[in-house]
Symmetry: C2
Subunit: 269 residues, 2 copies
């Protein structure tokens, strides 16, 4: 079993990856997870909704997922992106089925109520306060029975990273970490995180790190920043959950999944 995550940053540039994933999924059990925050931001702009960000005392920054933003995410993640990927895979002979984490309670999460500051239009953080209307969640259960049922009947799941809260409200979750939780729950052999860079660089952009072993992963996480840091945290969660290896690679190249499986990019094991 292989879990593949296609990042929102390469959605517009996905043809190579979709073709390669389809060829793989026709021969093997596979799950496709996706992101799509950029598309939501785009729809927010078009509909006149302001996209805001929060930050905490340790300097992490994330999207302020208000109820209004969640509705836009339902539309872009579970509607536009998920169904577009499903139709493309169907065209390539893969019996894809699109689900969000809400469907069949596939991804259950706890809303993170934290102290955070809203980042203003000028980029400065406001007063630290308890933020209760940020519908961002941390996944704590995956309905692996549903995924197994579908896969054993010939379907290939395509998953949008929304989750169901304890109050049965939709929550936004981080796409890479959702994929890690799914890979762990499904006891996947590998999780491939495909994005718009060739892997983890140290230093960036001159030295691509080909291999990180589990022992050195915590210090690598410490050194990393931004989106790559979260991918490494997701890798840590996947390895901790029993996934044998995590690949971080460029999803826009020719046969990018085959390449990642053959050791292009960064292999973490």
């Amino acid at each position: 079993m292989l879990v593949v995550k296609i990042g929102g940053s390469i959605f517009a540039n996905r043809a190579n990856l979709i073709a390669d994933f389809a060829a793989y999924a026709k021969q093997n059990k596979a799950i496709l997870c996706h992101g799509g925050a950029a598309e939501s931001t785009e729809l927010a702009k078009k509909t006149g909704v302001e996209t805001k960000y929060l930050t905490n005392e340790s300097g992490m920054k994330w999207r302020y997922s208000t109820a209004q933003q969640l509705e836009l995410m339902q539309m872009t993640l579970a509607g536009k992106i998920n169904k577009t990927l499903v139709a493309e895979l169907q065209k390539l002979g893969v019996n894809a089925i699109g689900l969000s984490g809400l469907d069949g309670a596939l991804l259950c999460a706890r809303q993170k109520i934290v102290n955070a500051s809203e980042i203003g239009a000028d980029g400065t953080a406001g007063k630290l306060k308890v933020v209760r209307d940020d519908f961002t969640g941390k996944i704590d259960a995956v309905n692996s029975d549903l995924l197994s049922l579908l896969i054993s009947n010939g379907y290939t799941p395509v998953i949008a990273p929304l989750a169901l809260s304890e109050n049965f409200e939709p929550l936004n979750t981080h796409g890479d970490r959702a994929a890690a939780q799914i890979a762990s729950a499904m006891r996947a052999n590998a999780l491939a995180i495909l994005t718009d860079v060739d892997g983890y660089f140290d230093p960036f952009p001159t030295n691509l790190v080909k291999r990180i072993d589990a022992a050195s992963l915590p210090s690598t996480v410490q050194n990393a920043s931004g989106g790559m840091k979260r991918k490494l945290v997701a890798a840590q969660e996947a390895l901790g959950g029993g996934v044998k290896k995590v690949l971080i690679a460029n999803g826009t190249k020719e046969n990018p999944l085959t390449g990642a499986l053959n050791g292009n990019g960064t292999t973490i094991e």
Copy 2:
């Protein structure tokens, strides 16, 4: 097996129906189909996309479902409405799973390429021409195996009326007729079409027709017009497909599904 269709016109006023459907679905096998054209029109307005209509020589009028409009429908039908209904049913203890007709090739359809006229802003029809970029379809296959698999494992399907074309493109289909095809494929005992009027009136709005038998249905279809005519066509298709009875009733009343099953509204059998 009961198939319930909740019309887009009562989506904003759905609380009674969702509660009643949830109570039913906890005890019985059921499928919820929905519409949502009005929500798509709303999103089109917000994003500056013009919603146009087509008409044919026999005076039928329908939405001009261009590729751009289909993307909006994916967002509103498969994203917003479908996932909102799923979360609400999950809250009420129903293990709902949302699908569009694209997922697992649930609804396969043929694109209708017809002679039609575009209706201008002034309401007059333009020149009759072959319209190739109207992605509206007529369903010719339902993946009933997928629905049976989910239902026999305790899931309640919630279905958005998009379909997969022969070219694997998303198509818009008529919600009532999609529900009729699903009810036929699943050999449902009944199809309940719940809308914003009490049933079929003749004449409108003074005389609610409580019962229409199969023999008199064709002449009733002839007499009807607009949205009600399409509901009656859907009823005809469902009865023709082996569904025992079709109920058309008001979905906004107290316990509207129980009421419809007890003979409020119009019963067609």
